[in-house]
Amino acid sequence: MRILFAVALAMTVLTAQAETPADIVKEVEARLVPGSYSVVYELTNHRLDGSLSSYEVRFDIRDADHARGVFTKPEREKGREVLRVDDALWTYLPGIGKTLRIADRDSFAGGDFSNADILRVDWTAKYAASLAKETPNQWIFDLVAKTPEAAYAKMRLWVDKASRQPVQQYFYDSRGTLLKRCRYGSIQNFGGVTRPAFLQMENVVTTQKTELKVLTLRTGQTFKESRFAVDNLGK
């Protein structure tokens, strides 16, 4: 019995030790991108003059390379769409009936999230994770870009040990200048997926901020290939 216990303990320790920073980051990533799913976000941009602008966007996301979002609020933005297929991004403007190519780095809906922040969470694919520090309650990981296609040169991610939820994230340029900070809160369960339902992105340079609320999230969705065809935007 003692031997069995010792073996079980050793196995547990070995398993724990085998868990790399990349594994933990991947787990966090999986909470934010739970397979093929539909999600409704409410984004609120806080301007420096105190004014607010809010948008509601419904996203169908199949994987890191396929996502399509449709603006549902406010009325004047209704029907506006964004589409990611692999590395290409498009936006459809219903007012003029045209589809335009946009860039990952462009601001999403005029706020402080970039298109890359919203439409693609593929940290482990593009960044090399390492443990910068471990505190009693959190892991602090440095994610350094390993491909030139990464949107940021470096990110720092705070992960709560107990819940394995993201707490905070910093975004840097290649010389270590802090560009943005994202804070995660309101952990909620969306049909079995427990994740932060509230994100606040602060632009360190402009000191503006944008809040993102997850209104609904449904996992296990299946989407036709045509859903992610550029020609189908606006239809």
């Binding site: 420096l48 860039a103 990952d104 780095r105 910068a132 520090k133 505190t135 009693p136 309650n137 959190q138 602090i140 870009a145 030139p148 296609e149 990464a150 949107a151 940021y152 040169a153 720092r156 705070w158 707490v167 905070q168 910093y170 975004f171 840097y172 340029d173 290649s174 010389r175 270590g176 200048t177 802090l178 560009l179 900070r181 804070r183 995660y184 809160g185 309101s186 509230f198 606040q200 602060e202 360190v204 340079v205 402009t206 000191t207 503006q208 901020k209 809040e211």
Partner: protein
């Protein structure tokens, strides 16, 4: 012949009022033509000088397609400024100095006003740039010139924010803390328009947001060192200047540059140097003069010259008409004198020459007097300069009018020619009078 000359000059003196009127007509014509050319030379010279010594240099080397792509895709038209290229420049006679430059697009954020605008960034090394564009430092209207030697890149940032993050409560309002932290020292120059728009002060902190070749976000925190005003109409407003080394390191550009500004020997012309430089650097790069770069200037100068030529023609016609008029009057008044001269044995050709010499003498005196006045006036203005504010500019532009001796000689020749041409018809008429009829007229 000497007799004719003596008689002609005596006649000029005798008909003082008419001679004076004709001479004044020539004087005004020459004054207007030579004076206008002098002012136009000053204006064109100032624009040329401003373009070559403040902005572009005499010549530039670019990658093919530069003019079409620099605003949309600045990274596409970059080329390597390597030792081989520098050696080619050193081996090109007439090339005096060169300044490698970078041009990229970015966003400029003024921290105090929290205003962010898209800008074109031009980066250079201050020493090399001043060698090519010696008037650039004088274009700083506020603050000072950026000094590349004092730029200091950021040290590796201290990773001091490794503290445990506080749980985020979306409902709780927190005071935003300044997270901007930099250990570098960078300077930028801005246009007067940006400076006014930001309501900025010298020393204000700005952040440049850039995308490198791979679209990765980069940032430079800098201070506004000065306000640069080219003092040219239509100068780009959303333009800033910074150190090329800083920009190259920020964007990991290595030895790649966007353009190479070149100054040439003062005795050489950009048009003559262009094929020489082109042959030296080969087909991978394109040599362009400042006129090629600023196509509008060539058109504007051509238009100015066309207008000037029109003025010359109009003045020529006015002068000719005035001389024809006074010469005809002279012939009519001096009919009996012509008859007497013919009776004394003067031939028709002598009468013709007499009137032509008289007119030439008047034209010459009016022309010389005008040239002396123009030369003195232009020499004075050329020395002191003429200050005026060009449209859209805040600072006065100083023109230094000048006119060449060759041009003055040509104007004098034109004055003489117009006087002689104008006098030909009346002189011909006088020479073909019949002596008996001429003597009988009162």
């Amino acid at each position: 012949m000497w007799d004719l000359l003596r008689v002609a000059l005596r006649n000029v003196g005798r008909n003082k009022r008419r001679s004076l009127i004709t001479a004044i007509t020539v004087f005004i014509g020459v004054l207007v033509i030579a004076g206008t050319r002098g002012l136009l030379n000053g204006l064109q010279g100032e624009i040329r000088s401003a373009l070559t010594q403040k902005m572009h240099g005499d010549l530039q080397l670019h990658k093919a397609g530069y003019q079409d792509s620099i605003d949309a895709s600045p990274y596409k038209v970059m080329f390597r400024f390597d030792d081989a290229l520098q050696q080619k420049l050193r081996d090109t006679p007439g090339v005096v100095a060169w300044s490698p430059r970078l041009r990229v697009l970015g966003l400029l954020n003024h921290q105090k006003s929290q205003t962010t605008v898209p800008v074109m960034i031009q980066a250079f090394d201050s020493v090399a740039e001043t060698a090519v564009c010696p008037r650039l430092p004088a274009s700083i209207v506020q603050g000072g010139m950026l000094v590349s030697g004092t730029e200091r890149m950021e040290q590796v940032q201290r990773d001091d924010d490794l503290a445990e993050a506080q749980p985020f409560d979306p409902g709780k309002k927190t005071r935003p803390k300044s997270l901007l932290n930099t250990s570098g020292q960078h300077q930028i120059l801005v246009t007067p328009g940006l400076f006014r728009g930001f309501e900025a002060a010298i020393g204000d902190e700005v952040v440049l947001l850039l995308q490198d070749k791979n679209n990765m976000q980069q940032a430079v925190v800098a201070q506004i060192a000065g306000v640069l005003d080219y003092g040219l109409p239509n100068a780009q407003n959303r333009l800033i200047w910074m150190d090329a080394g800083t920009l190259a390191r920020t964007l990991s550009l290595g030895d790649e540059i966007s353009e190479l500004a070149i100054s040439i020997d003062k005795n050489a012309t950009a048009e003559d140097m262009k094929p020489l430089l082109q042959a030296r650097v080969g087909n991978t790069l394109v040599a362009e003069t400042y006129l090629d770069i600023t196509g509008f200037l060539r058109d504007a100068m051509t238009l100015q010259n066309v207008i000037f030529n029109a003025i010359v023609v109009i003045m020529f016609l006015i002068v000719v008409a005035a001389i024809v008029n006074t010469s005809l009057m002279t012939v009519m008044e001096r009919t009996r004198e012509i008859g007497t001269l013919m009776a004394l044995g003067y031939q028709r050709k002598h009468i013709l020459f007499l009137f032509l010499i008289e007119s030439a003498a008047i034209g010459l005196s009016g022309g010389v007097a005008a040239l002396i006045a123009v030369a003195a006036g232009i020499a004075y203005l050329g020395q002191t300069g003429m200050q005026f504010v060009l449209p859209g500019q805040t600072d006065a532009t100083v023109l230094h009018p000048y006119v060449s001796v060759l041009f003055l000689s040509m104007v004098l020749a034109l004055a003489l020619l117009s006087a002689v041409i104008a006098a030909f018809l009346p002189a011909y008429k006088a020479s073909h009078m019949r002596p008996v009829e001429a003597l009988s007229k009162s």
